[in-house]
């Protein structure tokens, strides 16, 4: 599957899991969720809706437009609900490693009603964050911020470490409370 695939589809499925929405409303919610970081073009949303509809994951019902053009109210089918739960339970590697995708996944993780499954997902992220990885290496050895003389590269490591720390603390706390 294409790398970005799913970030948008995941958001669509996630929002519709709660309640039916028409495309325009969906777009506003997606923009609120991820738009400040990665805006979603309109010309990307509607084809994505069609894809999901064609795959049988969602159904549309046309309503007279409350304000303007007629609305297509979208709702998840049973297959769509299953698909979301599956994507949340067994996320792709990139959903775990890429912060943008991870946040999108987290935003809908509550839709898994199984606390064990939720904990499993958090544990995968925990494992990933604990892998010894850097952005810069000397041979195979990951370098620390202090070992670099480039202030901007130091910044990358400094910021990444702060994020990592905060997230590890949150993950551990949340894993405990999921017990």
């Amino acid at each position: 599957m294409r790398q970005n695939t799913g970030m948008l589809e995941l958001a669509i499925l996630g929002f519709l899991y709660d309640r039916s929405l028409h495309g325009y409303e969906l777009r506003k919610r997606i923009t609120a969720l991820t738009g400040h970081v990665r805006p979603v073009a309109e010309s990307t949303l509607y084809p994505a809706i069609k894809r999901l509809e064609k795959a049988g994951l969602l159904a549309r019902e046309t309503q007279p437009g409350a304000v303007a053009a007629p609305r297509h109210v979208l709702s998840l089918t049973d297959a769509g609900r299953r698909a979301l739960r599956r994507r949340l339970t067994e996320p792709a590697r990139a959903d775990i490693t890429d912060e943008n995708r991870w946040f999108t996944l987290l935003a809908f993780l509550r839709h898994l009603d199984d606390a064990d499954a939720q904990a499993g997902v958090l544990r995968r992220r925990l494992d990933f964050l604990q892998e010894p990885a850097s952005f810069f290496y000397e041979g195979d050895r990951p370098l620390r911020a202090e070992e670099l003389d480039d202030p901007f590269r130091q910044g990358i490591l400094t910021i990444a470490r702060a994020t990592s720390r905060a997230e590890l603390a949150w993950l551990r706390k949340t894993l405990v409370s999921l017990d």
Copy 2:
């Protein structure tokens, strides 16, 4: 331009700015830099190289392979060097807002020898981080972690805030030292 465009191209230009490299070596460096978050497929790298070559930004010189197949040693042309400096000086909006792209940009920002230009870029990121934005809203009002009852969504805000704090501190410190 396509949203992701440039993250890869930026990395290619950035690495070659230092020294000439053949594709395979380039790939290893890019993988080290961003691979743990977002792996780059081989089938993406070579076409990207061709694009840049076609655009006159880099030149290739074939050498007998040291170990295996013949190498194509890539080096930036003058136009390529100008292109990188331009991309660093006037980054696209998405280079500022998307952490993945921002980190890639930061990794090569030292190639701007003008401290003012570097500071200008950091200031754009600073402005972005200071915009009042959340992932969740009540009407137009951004919600804080404490106002949510979903622990996973709380996590998103908690982590994002920690990152933001760390980065703001680093940005301010670095801006001072660039004076």
